[in-house]
Every structure is written in structure tokens, then in C-alpha cells.
Symmetry: C2
């Protein structure tokens, strides 16, 4: 598919490049060129193979920008959206989440992930960093719907092994253009020392970065201190896990020593503000990370804790919570947050070709409707997106050159209704009759 997107405002997210008016040309799954009106006539640009447009889209002076990168999620947890609200994290995990997750089949995970993909598309998310059980099912759901996905293993003492991680690592890197795979483990507190040591060896073998849930709750950090004598990032680094980079999801309760590990190892923080609010875990010091030059990306976490997969809400929260935490209304401005949600996300996920809009990059982009009341007037478009934007402003989501969502319609193979039906069946099976009676709450 070759698509010409014209009559657009364009925010490339390239360094120091302001918004301009122009066109984006897409050839197959890549951007052929991003052109500014007037400066250069698109018609005169080089057309190496004599492009014939399959589609020419008038963007109506709305904004094209890179799609958002959801840098931490558990897609299939759509199952448990609003299933266990208003419960603290440890009780939530042990009493509510784990018992139900045990009943999930691979097919369940496939359908539930497809539901998540629908939601990602409505929010302009063009790539996800997904840690969940049976990652091959997540991969298949993403391939079938067209979503770009970086799988990350959730290695732990109970449900997987280092051998399995190696096998998946080799299988999923290079197998499909939409899918890649990163090494990871669930968390310090669910992995034995031996398991972590063996994962570190594996990461050394492939020079691979490693990712994990990290310092999400105060209790987690206190227990690690009691057990290991040092805070989590220091402990994990001492095992050699971060020698080739990687990052931490959440990073709410980081000690100065943990932050120093992140700075030295050039690790990424993936902040998940809505989930951390909803589970009362705390506020991650995102602005402080930025000042320390630690890259911060943004994730929604799973729908069981958030409960939605909406990068607009996360973006507002990253900035708003930072302002609260630092008692400073100038903390983390809109452009910093947009950078986290796009460029830093791509960096954290290893998607070097999906960060900005430029020649040769993946055509992973979105069209933001500026003609809705929450985007008017245009005092600042970037300010409007971060502080006032909503998924209702996403007019179109394109991944790898394919339009998967436009004007409220999905183009992902099956209809939303059929995906909803599959998921509802799963909910009824795994949460049981008692639950069904309370469905109408």
C-alpha cells in the first residue's frame, strides 16, 4: 500500500523541529518522505520507482505525528478490567489476579490481546512492550491485527524457565517484522537468585538488555533491603543483569543508589502513572529522572490495574503528578511528555525505526483531529495534545503503512463485536457464576 497523506500539519518529533504544514508519503511499511509545503514541491521529489498511490488522503489541516509507544503493558489483562478495583496491590495480585490467570488458555490470551489491540488503536498507540504468559499467543494476536509488539519475557519461579526465554528470544527476533523479543523477568521478588543469575548469563551470551518490574511499591523495596541488604536495582545490577542495558517498569520508590545504577548503565525507566495511582503505589519521580538524563518512557500497565489503555490519560498524569510531586507547576512541560510517549518509548523498546517521522522509518503514525472542541483554539497544539487531548481526537492510526483504525472504524480482520463476544465468553468461564450475578454493577 502506497499512501499519500496531504494537507496536514506535521509534528515529526525530530529534535528541535517545530510543527509545519506538509505531506507524508508512505511506501509499503515505511515513510518515503516527509515534505514541507512550499519549501519543496512534493510532486518534484524523487520517485525512485514511480509511485502509484493506492490512496491519497486529505488530512484536513489536522496533525500527523508518530504513534504513541506503550512501553509497559500486559495486553491480555483486559480480562480483568474493573474486576478487582479498589484493592491494594499485594491482595489484588494474590487474591484476585493470580487465581483467575491460572485458568487462562492460550486461546484466551489470543482473544483478550486482540481486545487490547482495538483499544490501543483508539488511543493512537502503534507499538506495545508486552509482558505476559504465553507470549507466542500475544505475538499471534498482534500479527493478526497488525499491531507492532515487543514481547518481553516475564520469567519467574513459577511459570517459565530460562531455557524457554532463550528459545523464544531466538524464535521471535527476526521472525516477523511486527514482532521482536526482549529478555525480562517478572520482578526481583518472584525470582530466585539462581534464576536471575542464569538469566544474566543468557543476557551476556546475546549481549541483550534486560527488563523487569522494579520498585513499584515501598514494601517491595523494603523487603529487598531486608533480604539482600541493598535496594532492588543495586541488587539486580550486582548479578550482572544490566550489563547490556535494559530498564525498569514503574520505578516509583527508587533510592539514590538505584538511580545511580540507571544512570551508569543507561537504563530506561517506564513510568505507569495511572496504575501507580489506582493501586496507591505512589508517584514516580519522572522529572528527577529526566534531570539525571535517565530516559523515561510511558506505559499503561495492564487493564486490570489501570483500567484503560489510554496514552492521553498517561501523558496528562506524567506531567500533572510531576507538578504535584515537585510542587512546581513548571515541572515536565508538554513537549517533554510527548517525547517520552514517542521517542523515548521507541528507544526503551529497541524500535529505532519507529521513533520519529522521517525517511526510511516505519510508517507508524497517527492523525490527530484538531477540529474538535477540546483542541480549540490552537494556542499550542502540543499543549492541547498533552493537557487536553483524548482518544476521541485520534482520527486515524497507521502501523507499518496500514490504516488499522480510522474515523471510529477498525480494519483488523474480525469485527469488534466478534472479539467482544469471545472475551465475554472467557470472562464468564474463568470468573464463574458468582461473578456473572454482579455484572450489572
Amino acid at each position: 500500500m502506497n499512501t499519500r497523506l496531504y494537507n496536514a500539519r506535521i509534528l515529526t518529533m525530530g529534535k528541535n523541529r517545530p510543527i509545519f504544514r506538509g505531506e507524508v508519503w508512505v511506501k509499503d511499511d515505511r515513510i518515503l518522505c516527509v515534505l514541507e509545503n512550499g519549501e519543496k514541491d512534493c510532486r518534484q521529489a524523487e520517485e525512485p520507482e514511480g509511485i502509484e498511490w493506492d490512496s491519497e488522503i486529505d488530512c484536513g489541516d489536522n496533525l500527523i505525528m508518530p504513534g504513541f509507544k506503550n512501553a509497559h503493558t500486559h495486553s491480555a489483562m483486559t480480562l480483568l478490567r474493573s474486576y478487582a478495583d479498589d484493592v491494594p496491590l499485594q491482595r489484588w495480585l494474590n487474591d484476585k489476579i493470580f487465581p483467575v490467570e491460572k485458568k487462562l488458555t492460550g486461546e484466551d490470551i489470543y482473544h483478550l490481546t486482540r481486545l487490547a489491540v482495538l483499544e490501543y488503536l483508539t488511543s493512537g498507540i502503534t507499538a506495545v512492550f508486552d509482558m505476559y504468559l504465553m507470549p507466542e499467543k500475544t505475538a499471534q494476536a498482534c500479527i493478526d491485527t497488525g499491531m507492532r509488539c515487543v514481547l518481553v519475557s516475564g520469567l519467574n519461579n513459577f511459570t517459565s524457565s530460562v531455557e524457554q526465554v532463550e528459545e523464544e528470544y531466538l524464535k521471535w527476533n527476526g521472525k516477523h517484522e511486527l514482532i521482536s523479543y526482549r529478555m525480562g523477568f517478572h520482578a526481583e521478588y518472584t525470582c530466585s537468585k539462581d534464576l536471575l543469575y542464569r538469566l544474566a548469563q543468557l543476557s551476556h551470551k546475546y549481549h541483550a538488555p534486560v527488563y523487569t518490574h522494579l520498585s513499584e511499591t515501598k514494601r517491595e523495596v523494603e523487603e529487598c533491603m531486608a533480604r539482600c541488604g541493598v535496594p532492588p536495582a543495586v541488587y539486580l545490577d550486582s548479578m550482572g543483569l544490566f550489563e547490556f542495558g535494559g530498564g525498569g517498569y514503574h520505578c516509583v520508590h527508587m533510592t539514590p543508589a538505584d538511580m545511580d545504577v540507571f544512570r551508569r548503565r543507561r537504563l530506561c525507566v517506564v513510568t505507569c502513572p495511572a496504575s501507580n495511582m489506582k493501586l496507591a503505589s505512589g508517584i514516580a519521580p519522572a522529572a528527577k529522572f529526566e534531570r539525571m538524563k535517565i530516559p523515561v518512557a510511558i506505559g499503561t500497565d495492564g487493564a486490570a490495574s489501570n483500567n484503560c489503555l489510554d496514552m492521553f490519560r498517561e501523558m496528562f498524569l506524567v506531567s500533572g503528578l510531576s507538578k504535584l510531586k515537585e510542587n512546581d507547576a513548571s515541572s515536565l512541560n508538554a513537549m517533554s511528555v510527548l517525547n517520552m510517549a514517542t521517542v523515548n518509548g521507541a528507544f526503551a523498546m529497541g524500535l529505532a525505526d519507529a521513533d520519529v517521522l522521517a525517511e526510511g522509518k516505519y510508517a507508524d503514525l497517527i492523525l490527530i483531529d484538531l477540529k474538535q472542541p477540546n483542541m480549540q483554539p490552537l494556542n499550542s497544539i502540543t499543549g492541547n495534545i498533552v493537557y487536553s487531548g483524548s482518544k476521541s481526537n485520534v482520527k486515524m492510526t497507521m502501523i507499518g503503512g496500514k490504516i488499522l483504525y480510522s474515523n471510529g472504524e477498525f480494519h483488523v480482520g474480525d469485527s469488534p463485536e466478534s472479539i467482544y463476544r469471545e472475551c465475554e465468553k472467557i470472562v464468564r468461564r474463568v470468573t464463574g457464576e458468582g461473578h456473572i450475578n454482579s455484572v450489572l454493577q
Copy 2:
């Protein structure tokens, strides 16, 4: 207009009434009946004057509920959306907001309010509690677009007088069914003691409740303590301002003595979490107010500080911030928050006829689309609305029996585009050339 809404799930927000399936019948601007399927056949219900339906709408098993009450806003401040982001409150007011506001004409306020109304409708807001300059212009904009509006005077030392408040009070109560008027003043720190005393006398004359911005920032409270020896609510109550009830907007930094005034006088708190985050003012103790039986309603504040007029964001924040503040994930559950956004809002605004869905109440209601990915599966509909909902779920907004917004289309007289154009002209005039150059940021 007589409208029958059938094949719906219904959340009346009446006490202890769960969601059920049924119909809502609307006759002119009121609800004729709310009927549960099966229990009673709507067709057999009493039809006093032999209703002929102008419209029968299949709700597709989606949810009808009362519209949200935005209990604190400055509608016309849409002008300054994303105009002065990332600036602390006092500098924001003095350097950015006040100088521009001085240039506003009545016609400007009219157009800018109409822009706000469009946004309210997309977010399912069916009534607003609006404090702004030239309230008659706000009233006219609301009448022309069909929005229900409770005006509240923003009396202060500079732009209005007690005489004017009395005149407007008498003029706007009873003049138009969509409009009512409440006495209010801008804030303790912008009103002389004499002015407040005279407003108190006026409130005694009409037995009228009084509303004000209150304890929004720490500095405001400290300065009041220094000046008056007591915190703001205590000071204002000592002037007799709250003898007939009323309430405070924001209420972030309340001392126990202030809370006691609220409890004794049965005053309402209107919390504005997004605005308080964005201006780094703090987190209002909403759960504590609830435990003290102080009614809490929710407001967006104006678009200059928020920057959007979206009750879904506010609802998530009220709960999420409360969980953070109390370090307790069970703090303020979804139903409590929905109650604040509907029933308590109506109570705070004096809209006794617009609180729940029941016979004889205003037909101020919304249709929530449950067939979107962020609303699936239906583990808990109320949980989904508060924790996962977005304005993209608002399928229809009806005020006083009139459908003003449905499936993305507005029915408010003028087209959105013409309203945007008027507002853009105003922006260019009042913010000047220097600003225009930075429009594309």
C-alpha cells in the same frame, strides 16, 4: 419533543438501585417514566395525554445515566487553553490571565462559552456551575446552545458590585428554565472585608447560599491566617456568609477548623483535581470530606488551567488522587465518584430536579457506549465508566429533553466550525501578533 429510549441499560443513580434493563420516556423537558423490562410493560403504563413519540431510539443495550454536573467552571476561559501552561498559579493569574481577560468583550465571552458548551456535550456534561465576567453573556450562550447553567457571581474588588449581584440574582432566577443564579464571590483574597460583609447581608436578605474559590493554594491560606488570624472558611463564616449554606471551589488546603465550618453549615466542596494538579496546588482530601459527611461535587475549572472540560478525567483523578493521598487503594470507589459527579453536583448547584433519573425530573441524561474496547468486558459497568471511561464513550447527550449531541454530531444551532472561527478571531485579537507566531508549537 417526546422521546422514547428503549433497549437500554439504566443507571438511575437513585439510592441503592442497581443497573437494570428498561426504557426511559421523555415528555417535553422532563422524564415521564423510567421502566424496567418485564416488571412492567411500558406500553401499559399510564399515558396521561396519549403520547405520540417524535422519536423512538434503540439504545442498543448501552447505558442511560444522568448527565454529569460540572460544578465549577469558567466556560469562556476556553480562550486561554494551552496559552499559559507550566506556570505557577499566582504568576499564571497575574502575568498571563488577567491582562488578557481585560481585553474581553461581552461578545467574546458569548462565543468562547459556546465553544465550551460543545466540549461539555462531548463529555456528557448536562449542567455547569459557571463563574465568570458578564454572566449574562454566559447565560445567553447557554440558552442559545441548550446547556443548563447555574451562574454564580464572581464578586471582587475590581470588576463587579453587590448591587450588580442583587440585580442579576433577581433577573436570572426564574427568567429561563435553563438558567439559575447563585450568589458568590471570587475569593477571600480579592474581596475587601466591607464587600464581603455587604454580600453576607444580601445573602441574608434572600436566604441565599454563597459560593467562593476557597483554600486553593497553601499560600492563600497562609496569607489569610496572617491577615485575619484564622483560616479562610472560618473567617468567611464569621462574616455570616455561610448562614444559608453554599460551598467552596477547590478546598485543597483545609484546616480542621475549616472542615468543621463545612460540616456545621452543610456546605459543599467542589473538587477540581486536574486543575489542582496542573497548577501544582495540591490534592484535596476528598475521601476525608466524605467521611465527615461533607458533600463533594466535581468541577473541571476553566480550560486555561485544566486544560480540558472532561468529567471522565476528573472522575478518575478524584479516585486516583485520593488513593495516593490516603495511601489506600480502597479509598473512594467508583460508585462514590459517580455519585459526586451527578447527585452531589446537582445538590451543590441547587438543581434538585436534575440529580437522578426518575419521573418528573429534567430529562438531562446521557447514553454511554458500552460497545467500545475500553468498556469491554462488562466486569463492572460503573468501574468501567470511572476507571476506563472517556468522552469517546458518550454516544448521546440530552438536556431538557433535547438531544444536543449524538454520534459525534452537534445540534446546537451554529456549526462547530463557525464557533471555532469566531474563537480563533478572538484569540488573535486579544493575545496579539507575538502569540500568533507561536501558534504552531
